[in-house]
Point group: C2
Chain length 181, copies 2
Amino acid sequence: MANDKKLDCVILGLLSHEDMTGYAIKKRMDTTLSFFWGASFGSIYPTLKGLVESGLAVKRNVVESNRNKITYAITEQGRIHLRAWLALPVQKDEIRYETLLKLFFADETDEKTTIAHIRSFEAKIRKELPFLRGAVQELEGIVEGNRAHFYYLLTAKFGVKAYEAYLEWCEEAKRLLGEKE
Amino acid sequence: MANDKKLDCVILGLLSHEDMTGYAIKKRMDTTLSFFWGASFGSIYPTLKGLVESGLAVKRNVVESNRNKITYAITEQGRIHLRAWLALPVQKDEIRYETLLKLFFADETDEKTTIAHIRSFEAKIRKELPFLRGAVQELEGIVEGNRAHFYYLLTAKFGVKAYEAYLEWCEEAKRLLGEKE
DNA sequence: TGACAAATATATCGGATTGATATATCATCC
DNA sequence: GGATGATATATCAATCCGATATATTTGTCA
């Protein structure tokens, strides 16, 4: 199995911390990882299937509080795969900001629409920033001696710095759009 | 034709500025738009075909300096489609930073590897920042009265602010990784 | 002038991924 | 008891990327 299927490695990374169900993996994606990565159910479940088939993870039927769950655990082979990927150079870092796309082509629309896009971008950032700041504060307290928490802290700090810069830009963009008229 | 195929709208946006070949569209994606959007040949050519089939663009065989080119132009219908999309709320802004992903799972690897990832991220940003700063400076000179240039300027300013924040984070991350030992 | 690399230009294909949708069970609240 | 929402798994069409193939033109160095 090649090391270039990203989601294989993301899921193995999550499983390296703890055993998880597909649903729990999705939830983690939508919370902790959401500001720098994402994945859908439509990719998570087939990927888990593939990981089991190639021996990188194992499946365990668990009954917990009267509910049947399928929990996945990383294997030694899976850990080797994960480490090999971590050692490879980063292939791609990319942004896909539809807001900037619409802004770039905004000469085809009216200013009101454009300002609305910026405001809604700003609102989204303002809403997410407290969670990132909260994570930083919480992690700074408990990071001593825990490597996993330390790295989580570094990513959260990235998020805070980036989002603060975005908000500064929003102010400037709104000001320039206002002056323009 | 629905308004939810992003690449349709991106290409129509580019064609709203000037007629272009598929190749020129790809080049624009890899330069001006690269820090907030991307597209491959494997999506650009089929999309152009689709745009022509649905009457949003027209194809023109052009002979320029002994070379046969297929140039595409936006139609009035295409402009209507573009404007409708611009008026819709933004569906999704997303980051996919493999660097942050590898950092998040870095407790499975050694510190040397992690620092190397951060350094190479930093190098990439440092390399691209001058282009963005150059664009801002150039555009600030010629922006008067040109709406398209003004919006291009706003996106470039976003890039500069974001990239400067990234570099600050790189310094902090390297420092914290150093102190850790 | 000939050779070779690089840029221009178009096109296709497998595989990865999203977004939507479907199904079902369990927990909670009124 | 019924509604709603969370948990949980799964599939599918549409979309998109990355790699690859092909061919022509331009530029450069010998």
